[in-house]
Amino acid sequence: MRSLAKNPLFVPVICLGLVLLFNCVTNLGFFEISIKRNNVGNWILAGNLISVLNNASELVILAIGMTLITSASGGQDISVGACVAIAGGVILKILASKSGVPVPVAVFFGCLVAMAFGAFNGILVSIFNIQPMVATLILFTAGRPISSWITGGLSPRITNPILDAVGNVIPGVPVPTPIFVAAFCVALAFMAIRFTNLGLYAQSVGVSDKAARLVGLNPRRVKFIQFVIMGLCVGLVAFIKVSRVGSIQYNYIAKDIEMDAILAVALGGNSLSGGKFSMTGSIIGAYTIQAITTTLLANSVPSDALPAYKAIVIIILVAIQSPAVKAFWRKRFGGPRGREAEPGQNGTLPGTVPGAGEGGA
């Protein structure tokens, strides 16, 4: 039991389980999946579960970037929603101005702009040593105004078969395409972590800047790269968002998604102050958030009131993970192993003094 609780996936899986259990008890119809024709005549799968998977796509992609940033810099990027608005504005502007421009080119430029803004955040964080949440505050404030500046305050509507295929369904495939895009990004992220040093470097910089420098890493560059990767994620999310409806509303697109992405990272059992991370946890966390949202909406909670419920979830989660509460539980139920870990409070890593705990007990 103890080793199970130590598993990094313990928290996210339990949370997801609780949400599904809640639905089992209150509303079994939540799990129904049907297949029907949409208004264009394609067969598509419909149901709450499919809609959770579908609507979580953006969140999953952002959670990948947010996990890396959190790990390396010990802070979070709160500008992602605003940057999605910028990148979406760029994609929309290019597609609307010249009808001849193919969609991939527009998306390429959208991603490029998003990566440039990511690099801006990265420079502030890595070179000027500004806390990530404050550095990204700048674009959080300016992002949506910049987006409306790019589009001139207009939101034209684009109809394009490629956009429709990406945002909704490819004709003949009954599953919404954003699910595949998200799955592709997840696969890419896992491959990057498995076959490159990306994740390892991020973690070592996050655990200790100084130690990372001593082993020959360049902490500034590592942090900077995470923000550029986040820019790429933002560009892709903007692409999905634009193609879902063929337009954007710069004041509402991806609103509050930064909060959901941070919550996904926290829910994934990751420490929000950086260091070791679990990508699987964050991704399960992202789907859990969307499941919570869909569940609440299915129970006719007004969408404006959703944040209050999510806030309670965040507070409970971080309170459980807080050192003071952990110490309290250890003192009450921890036994000898618990006491052994107490030196961790004084700055040494827990578990570095094997045997001392047994002596104390």
Partner: protein
């Protein structure tokens, strides 16, 4: 204890960071305002009323920013202030409309109570459970807006005579200007401005000359050395959040006095405005450096940017946001350079 708050610098050194940043802020504000008055002479920048309108519009933001500055000086941050303001506006409007005619005092108590409740809870989570202030107050912001939506999703205006009378009270000043018809018009202030100015003065004195004020600087500057000086670090942090909550309660009430309506979407982006004002006013994000008077100037600078942008003929709704962000960026980099210069 005069050396505390200068971040460990010796007493003989010419200028502390607090003073240096404050001077930059004041100079920028004056330069901006005076050059605007000269460049756009037709737009009324030279009229006293223009300046007092800045105060009238930003009275609530001044009070809220002061609270935020206190938290930031103690090394924390609070982004729930905008959500709390919205919640207070909604709760007070519902209460005032139920009471008909009376209820002014009880609605003030309600506003302060909501602020205090948030301050106590967030302060406890940050100080005693050691959770990152950003995460705690992020949840606070979510919760406040969600709560406001649970109470009332529609915008509601105040229909309460005694409250409206107070909200419309104008304090005429002996200075003024000629209007187009050549009639002398006195400049006026709203009631909220008096509250804001008194708050700024009281907090200025508190931060400068009381033990609590000095310990805020000590805790924000260096937790470890504050602890060794015998300061109760946890309690100081806790109190900084409680004070910020109370001030947001007061600020929310002043906000309601100005707008006279309550809505979930009210005070959108207030947290960012307040943080920007504090930073522009010379409060360091790293803690231990800051000045309430600077915050006051910071809010005025933020308000003046909007006026100047409009006077320049940039009518797009996006310009105030972009210029404010550019300003924020400039001050953040300035702070970062100051910090790194000291470290070197």
């Amino acid at each position: 204890m005069s050396f505390i708050g200068k971040d460990g610098r010796a007493r003989g050194e010419p200028m502390s960071d607090t003073t240096f940043l404050l001077i930059i802020t004041v100079v920028i504000f004056l330069a901006m305002y005076v050059s605007a008055a000269i460049l756009f002479s037709g737009k009324g920048f030279a009229k006293p009323q223009m300046f007092f309108n800045l105060l009238n519009e930003n009275a609530a933001l001044i009070i809220i920013s002061c609270g935020l500055s206190i938290v930031m000086i103690a090394g924390g941050i609070d982004i729930s202030v905008g959500g709390m303001t919205a919640l207070i506006s909604v709760a007070c409007v519902v209460h005032l409309n139920d009471m008909e005619g009376s209820g002014f005092l009880t609605s003030l108590l309600l506003a302060l109570g909501i602020g205090l409740a948030f301050g106590l809870l967030q302060g406890y989570l940050v100080a005693y459970l050691d959770i990152q202030p950003f995460i705690v107050t992020l949840a606070g912001m979510f919760f406040a807006r969600g709560q406001a939506a649970m109470i009332e999703t529609q915008t509601r205006t105040v229909a309460n005579e005694s409250f409206s009378a107070l909200a419309q009270a104008r304090i005429r000043l002996p200075i003024g200007s000629m209007n187009n018809n050549g009639v002398f018009v006195q400049a006026y202030m709203e009631l909220g401005v008096i509250i804001a100015l008194v708050t700024v003065a009281a907090l200025f004195v508190t931060l400068r000359w009381t033990t609590f004020g000095r310990s805020l600087y000590a805790v924000g500057g260096n937790k470890q050395s504050a602890l060794m000086l015998g300061i109760n670090v946890k309690r100081t942090k806790f109190l900084s959040h409680v004070l910020c909550g109370l001030l947001t309660g007061l600020g929310g009430f002043v906000f309601l006095l100005h707008v006279r309506s309550g809505a979930v979407t009210h005070a959108a982006g207030y947290e960012m405005d307040a943080i920007a004002a504090s930073i522009i006013g010379g409060t360091m994000l790293t803690g231990g450096v800051g000045n309430i008077f600077g915050t006051f100037i910071g809010v005025l600078t933020k308000g003046a940017i909007g006026n100047i942008v409009r006077a320049m003929g940039l009518v797009g709704s996006w310009w105030p946001g972009i210029t404010l962000a550019a300003m924020l960026c400039f001050f953040l980099i300035l702070q970062s350079v100051i910090t790194s210069r000291k470290r070197a």
